[in-house]
Point group: C2
Chain length 547, copies 2
Amino acid sequence: MSDIEQLKQQVEAQGSVVRDLKAAKADKAQVDEQVALLQALKKKLHIANGGDADESKKKGGSGKSLVLKEPKGTKDYSPKEMAVRTEIFSTIVSVFEKHGAVTIDTPVFELKEILVGKYGEDSKLIYDLKDQGGEECSLRYDLTVPFARYVAQKSISNIKRYHLAKVYRRDQPAITKGRMREFYQCDYDIAGIYDAMIPDVECVRVAVDVLRRLDVGGFVVKVNHRKILDAIFEVSGVPQEKVRAISSAVDKLDKAPWTEVRREMTQEKGLEEAVADRIGQYVQISGPGEEVLAKLRALPELMASAKAQEGIKDMGLFFRYAAIYGILDYVSFDMSLARGLDYYTGIIYEAVLVEENVRLPTAPETSAKKGKGDAVDESQIRVGSIAAGGRYDELVGMFSSVMHAKGKKTDVPCVGISFGVERIFSIVKSRRSEAEIKANRTQVYVISLGDTLTDSLLEDRMRIAAELWDAGIAAEFAYKVKPRPQAQYDACDSAIIPWAVIIGKDEIGQGTVKIKNMAQKVEEEKGGVAVPRANMIAELKQRLQMN
Amino acid sequence: MSDIEQLKQQVEAQGSVVRDLKAAKADKAQVDEQVALLQALKKKLHIANGGDADESKKKGGSGKSLVLKEPKGTKDYSPKEMAVRTEIFSTIVSVFEKHGAVTIDTPVFELKEILVGKYGEDSKLIYDLKDQGGEECSLRYDLTVPFARYVAQKSISNIKRYHLAKVYRRDQPAITKGRMREFYQCDYDIAGIYDAMIPDVECVRVAVDVLRRLDVGGFVVKVNHRKILDAIFEVSGVPQEKVRAISSAVDKLDKAPWTEVRREMTQEKGLEEAVADRIGQYVQISGPGEEVLAKLRALPELMASAKAQEGIKDMGLFFRYAAIYGILDYVSFDMSLARGLDYYTGIIYEAVLVEENVRLPTAPETSAKKGKGDAVDESQIRVGSIAAGGRYDELVGMFSSVMHAKGKKTDVPCVGISFGVERIFSIVKSRRSEAEIKANRTQVYVISLGDTLTDSLLEDRMRIAAELWDAGIAAEFAYKVKPRPQAQYDACDSAIIPWAVIIGKDEIGQGTVKIKNMAQKVEEEKGGVAVPRANMIAELKQRLQMN
């Protein structure tokens, strides 16, 4: 029976399935399903008869043409990209684990009400699942809120956990900037009641360690404190109800010059000009910790605020501990850092890449530059935030129903850091030549040469491969009865497989195999070194430095 | 200011935000957001005033109470569960990579039209995303269809890939059986035009290797061939349009006795009784490969079918190669295996756990038992399918628009195996004592003893920890200025940390630290071995067997 004959029969049979279903007034979804299958078969038949698969597309015909692509803002990862990603993840996880973190996993979607009221203006970017009966659910927007839900739900009093997982935001994608709708976050958080700033400084130490190991180039970790920011707004005279809006304007200072941010404050958000100018004086302060602390302590109107005192006390401890941890060179105390999210209550930080391999600019220079006019020094504009976080002491409490005897809720204070891996991925990937990335872990390729008129060598290759697998050696061979020698060498080379085991009629007769170094292409014998078949595993393990 | 005073002010400020927004006729979503915040603050104030957090729940009041739980059919994984899961994944990946597979990643959702028409009756279980403007998307239902989409979209002619990722099915959850709405699949697939049965047998070899390494207990891999099944239905006289329905009835033979399946065929699906009985004769054939092949070859009416001949030729090769790969003992050729999915075109297989540690029952015994009556031998009813797969040669072609000169589509033939990890996870986890599972990788805990009236020892602990981290040693210490000695020992024990570095006033004075073996609790000196501070890293690395 020809393909066309067979297809005709299938179309007929499927047609009768559809007719039967319709006659039986079957469930609409079921009918649609079968109709779709019928149409697919008809299209197949049409093509088999010489028709064009893309006809409907060109003609804009009734048959909806299938577009083969990933959904907007998402991407597939190729094997070589995955090799890079796996390496990045493994570096990140090794640092997290070096600091004693355990890992948890939570579902990719949460009950919708868990996410409500946690993300401020950005809540509109949350992906909802369709209501197909049952609970209303949304894809997670970050890993922090699911973590807080987990801690509250399980009544956990302390945990240091990491979580590498995808999060979802219906944002306008900008793939060149690494802004995707589906992207990975790598989070490290410490929850529990501890003494001031000890876990906080460890989070920044983790960030520095990760970024140094990933070799992303020059970076600076900007730090600030929500209580100091709050005090600045208070002291400057920002009305209470405008604090969030003004704070989110300040947060734009890394992307926009002060004049523009000032305009947003006064014209869009209705702040008095004098108030904006007072804020301007504060938020342009930045530099090494001790210098900024000294500057702040010298501002009597700020120091009159209890909040400012609390924040400055915290930051004093922070820089003291940061010195012990050897990370002072990477940290800049920056009053313009505000962070968009609502839930932060203490220290906040953000690691940004700097254009050149500049570490922290020296303070006098920075202040001088910044002091010059209203514009923020352009050389300081970030090329990208690659990690961020802070202290959020009340988020778990929003979920928690644990009560003290006095009717006061128990919060579980938290501090954490989140790495945005898409940008890190772009940087690390751009440094590699595609051809050099080995996406597999195959150690040995089994090749047969010579007389391939009989198929017996396939089974010999299979036998050798099975023996290698049994010994824990990663091995492959051509899935052909009679593969061409060159095709086998090429397969070995293109997969960057370092060793070959070569057999031919002679080797089979002599009970030997040849072992050839494919990586170096230099060998004691050109065709490889002959070893007795019985010694093959031992000889390979020695070359592969396996125990 | 008391907490209550502060909350009152916050409620007032937030109230004014809401009023302003309403007055400005702001976007509804924005207003709702702020109202939710206001209500949360009011509730907080209510509680601070001595009210009950759960009041609204008890009274069924207007305030919707927040239920803290994972969505139905999904679950959180605790650190100890994650330790088990990570171990399982790492075993599976190591086998996949031993066979040369690379990995890819695809988005968690696909364009809806990609999934349509691929899953037969089960399409109703697909999760859709809500239409929030833009493309219609659905959560992936398996990893096979996204893989086929990937291969077609990227015009890949051959690839051997693995993918460990979550898939989603709106099924009725049965957590005890490991049936979840969100669950992991671990897939290994070989795509490309190769010689018959070589990749196919490797998939089964991979399944056997993985299940042996995971030590899941006794299991059997049932194999069958779609073409033989098709021939059986043809020869038995099943009308073309009923083939799918009857095939899906046969697939239930592992859960239901023949009498029940026969009733479904004849009464629900309107099959003639004589036809059902003919099918019954065939599908009860099972046993070791060569025996079943001999039985089938002795059935002239079956062998008259070209399809049957093709299938039997394939299976002949399969069992020949399976012998070379040393997996014959695990494989049963079982005519009752049908597999629900539509896309299989060749060999199909399913690994099932057997109650006791029974491997393959000897064939005469099995046939004898099965020959007795209509009922399937109950001892053979599966306790659970833990891996399954088969050959699907046309799925990529459904997506592919690659055309031959003759107007014929180029399919990329595929064969693969998918592991259902939730069941494997339950088995492996049930074998472990919770207390023995170490969820972290911390190697050293830094403890301070003695006079803790000064806080200087905190900084010494920090300094030691930083030194350990710099040396690549995983280390933790108490995040307290003055931790109690016993609390530190307890933390060390409960996290199963094998080594402690102990300091006190004496050690600081002498420039030494004590190293104590916490795992064995037996030590040359009860309080640990004193070593010069300068040798600490070297001494620890030696004990930790680090290079």
